[in-house]
Symmetry: C2
Subunit: 430 residues, 2 copies
Amino acid sequence: MSSRLVPVEAHLGEVLAAMRPLEPVRAGLEAAEGCALAEDVTAACPLPSFDNSAMDGYAVHASDVAGASEGSPVTLPVMDEVPAGDTRTLTVAPGTAVRIMTGALMPAGADAVVPVEWTDGGRDSVRISQPATSGNAIRRRGDDVTEGEVLLKTGTRLGPAQIALLAAGGHGSALVRPRPRVSVIATGSELTEPGSPLAPGRIWDSNSYMLAAAVRQAGGEAVRRWVTDDPAEVLAAIEEESGAADLLITSGGVSMGGEHDVVKAALAGNAPAGNAAAPAREATPGREATPGREAGVAQVTFRKVAMQPGMPQGFGVVGANRTPIFTLPGNPVSAFVSFHLFVRPAMDVLQGQAPGRLPTARAALAGPVRSPAGKRSFLRGVLDSGTVTPLTGQGSHQLGALARANALIIVPDQVTSMKEGEVADVMSLL
Amino acid sequence: MSSRLVPVEAHLGEVLAAMRPLEPVRAGLEAAEGCALAEDVTAACPLPSFDNSAMDGYAVHASDVAGASEGSPVTLPVMDEVPAGDTRTLTVAPGTAVRIMTGALMPAGADAVVPVEWTDGGRDSVRISQPATSGNAIRRRGDDVTEGEVLLKTGTRLGPAQIALLAAGGHGSALVRPRPRVSVIATGSELTEPGSPLAPGRIWDSNSYMLAAAVRQAGGEAVRRWVTDDPAEVLAAIEEESGAADLLITSGGVSMGGEHDVVKAALAGNAPAGNAAAPAREATPGREATPGREAGVAQVTFRKVAMQPGMPQGFGVVGANRTPIFTLPGNPVSAFVSFHLFVRPAMDVLQGQAPGRLPTARAALAGPVRSPAGKRSFLRGVLDSGTVTPLTGQGSHQLGALARANALIIVPDQVTSMKEGEVADVMSLL
């Protein structure tokens, strides 16, 4: 019961060591939005792929307009007109002009575009009152991207600009790490669906909604379910979900106390018929991480992590696919903090990214805070202009303060109190 | 052709003055994720809604265990057991104990919970070796949220923590501003679908993909289409999309030069049969913003905004619903910058939020930059640790640099050059 606490970094390190990027999939550009590339993408052709006009105007030989001025304009016959998208190959003979639109293919012969603003805009002939030097208003083939150049590197997240570059380069799809499919299983016979009437002693389920929202915010797809405190039901749900999910998250049933710790009981004691492998065991000092089912059905380590909230944690793999599973504590604030410290970085790795953290800053405390010795506290606060105000209601069941917070105040493991005005590390929640 | 340039703030101000939050909808909690509340939500009951145990242990009368110690433990008979979710109303008589689990309803009579760690964990009787004071390990009804308290205020964005609080309070749905439905219409006969072969003079469409991705990043839903440079086709697409969309975005066809400015032509000259209202007109100095169709078919103002890229802009309303429309320039970098400066803040207002901006910072230039007089430049750069490096390839058609950039360097309207080492304002793109 009193096993040594595991430091936050040690638990995270073990989690991350077990995570592998998901197998890449080829996705259309819209499906690929927000995903990370799983390969370098090179340019199959230069961009632009042809010399084209940067402006609406007239394609000319620059030498023909070298002497043009307001007082002494040059007039040229307009032989044709090229809109953008016109696929004809025109030629501009010396002493003539071709009307040309922005983006249109430069005709052969011409080496400059005279912007329409420097002319009378004529259609049959054009009066040009300003000289254009060779190359004026021409976008050269390859001046954006050269053929064979790496457009985007492996691991690049595809935001709007990156999607645009892929599209401009003719790529209708991309090889990306898919969005992780995450099953969230809330446990507890006390849980009731929000919107339904509540019996005394029951509570509305918030964890499955919260964790599913957090999964989506972290780039995943989420399914939610909840089960009662029946180990067989919990185990059946975990096994069922492990088939299709890339990651499982349970909440509740992992505290250190009683036989009602249903997630522990499910993953430790209720082997399916015919599976006689050893059950998962609780970590003990100096000999933790005893794996469970050797057949791969469940290898989950339960431990106490040196943090508050969120001390009871479990992590391992379940099912034939060895699907990673996080067994988070059931108090909603504990589950929230645990998600951000452990699950979210793990989801980054699944998505082919370096494990991220919430952005951190330093801020002066607007009031004192307390923290248990030997545990790192993550207290709810409001960060504003370099000052962070600890909120009232720091219990691990108190969602009111969490919903008002925009930051977590970090009190180091060995620090038990900090005074008003002291500078603390904070993690931004927005 | 040479109308005075409109400052960025003036254009944005007119855009925002025309925007109204979308009509609220009642949405299930999962659909409401990321949306803003359209009403204050109050607590219909206190949270917790009943006194419950904060730990696994034993519910007792504190006075019975006041003298307990390691050397002189108190032994009490265990009369019953209350797991979480048990709806029975138990009573603890003086001199007895009830085994209780975390979250379970406190039995009547008991005023303290002795954590299991302070006991021998007995089932029929329990030996208690540490005293618990009155109130120990009890979460009181209402200690998180009191009945009638405002849980969340109008305008609050519903992230995971806010969704959790709604769920914990029994709300299965929320009244929110819906995600704006945005139709993106790219114009240009030169456009070809990415993934298809390219004819000479044609380009792959990137704007519709880029803008749709940006819309989704800004909280909207996007549909994409593209049309050729035929004003009738453009007008038909705009009118069709205006029926279902909350916002329209076109790209291309708004430059200042030629008759190939198809979006202008569509919104100005091609009134449907029977509609004889005045066409939209280009802004002229001192007398801009002449509205078009009085019947509400199209009232769009085209103007030059004092910025680079992105000078040619149009904004107005179209269709019977007076759907807001942005006519963005067709160069992809121009469209991207325009989206972030004008469309994204407008989408915030549709979603019941204060108009946001990209986060700004100050950074030292790692190299010199140039900018035309009288225009604010937004140059692509890489921001790292307080230094911003301008990228090569600042043309408004050059997506390569945009896709590598993580920031836009802002050069003020009247500044034409900045030296290496000067400190500039930058907008972060990540």
